[in-house]
């Protein structure tokens, strides 16, 4: 479990970093730089890793207190970033940064909840 908690906390920290980078870009350029999408996709990579490890733990027999809630969080955590980034694919305006930031903060909150429900 300790390793899983560690990945989750790394995800939280990295998601907050992505949200801050979005905020900085909004302040500095008022549009979305291409590297922010790369940051977001790297966050998605971490989330997939976290979800695969989480399902592995479930299959190996560990039962969290609330299985359905925990599985729900695992699935939701990998869906949010792709949906958000895809929805603003052709739009690099300032407000698209808000979309990325909201997605990153949501993922951070979900990661905290994943640790809490494990």
């Amino acid at each position: 479990m300790a390793a899983l908690d560690q990945i989750s906390w790394v995800v939280v920290g990295y998601a907050v970093l992505v949200a801050l980078a979005a905020g900085w870009s909004a302040y500095r350029w008022r549009e979305r730089p291409p590297w922010l999408d790369s940051l977001a996709w790297m966050l998605e990579g971490l989330l997939v890793l976290r979800a695969v490890a989480g399902f592995g733990v479930l299959l190996s027999g560990h039962r969290p207190d609330e299985v359905s809630t925990h599985v729900g969080y695992l699935i939701a955590s990998v869906c949010i970033v792709p949906l958000a980034v895809r929805s603003v694919q052709d739009d690099h305006g300032g407000w698209s940064l808000g979309v990325v930031a909201v997605a990153a903060i949501t993922v951070a909150v979900i990661s905290v909840r994943i640790v809490m429900t494990l």
């Binding site: 698209s96 909201v102 949501t106």
Partner: protein, 232 residues
Amino acid sequence: MTPPDAGRSGPHQVLLVVYAVFTLSAGARSLVQLATRASEAPVAYTLSLGAAVTYALGWFGIRRAAQGRTRFASWMLWVELGGVLAVGTLSLLERDWFPDASVWSDYGIDYGLVPAVLPVAGLLWLRTRDPDRAGNGTVAAFRVVALAEAASWLGLLTGMFFKYVVDAGAGGVHVFGPLHGVVFLSYVVVAALTWHDRRWSWPVGVVALAASVPPFGTLVFEEWARRSGRLR
């Protein structure tokens, strides 16, 4: 001012994501709770499901509003604000009904108070949608406090409903009484400034100030002033 392509890019994108996230989280949470342990806190879980439906309709309304049809969103956001205030106040007064929290318990404190801020943010955004609603700084400030005045009236009326009609205690009135007082005073100040700035006649200025007395009077006055060109 709203750019020509406002239907695509703008603050509504952020609102839409937040509404989508809240629809999903409130919906999934309440459905799991109702399916696995409905008897523990039936009121709280049902109210959470109601919140999820409100968020789904709000998302739909904001999408429509971004294309120029604002009426449905306007209604839904007021319903949502009323819901947050009513459930939040109820949860403070009737602890027994909420052995487990609902999404709007304590005005959405579990969700960082975002549920209380979201409908207000949505309503403020809606006001920027109408091109003839744009104005100078004073007029914009007048619109914001006119809306805030009406919202604080809604909170105070909710508190009074629970105090006098349901006889559930005065908690809501204690929260919204002072808040309404502060917003009322800001409205009077900003209305006086707008009176001066827009060179309203004496009767119009007096009506503007008097509009703060009856509930939602400020919204009625604002709408009338807008239609008669007194906010340009």
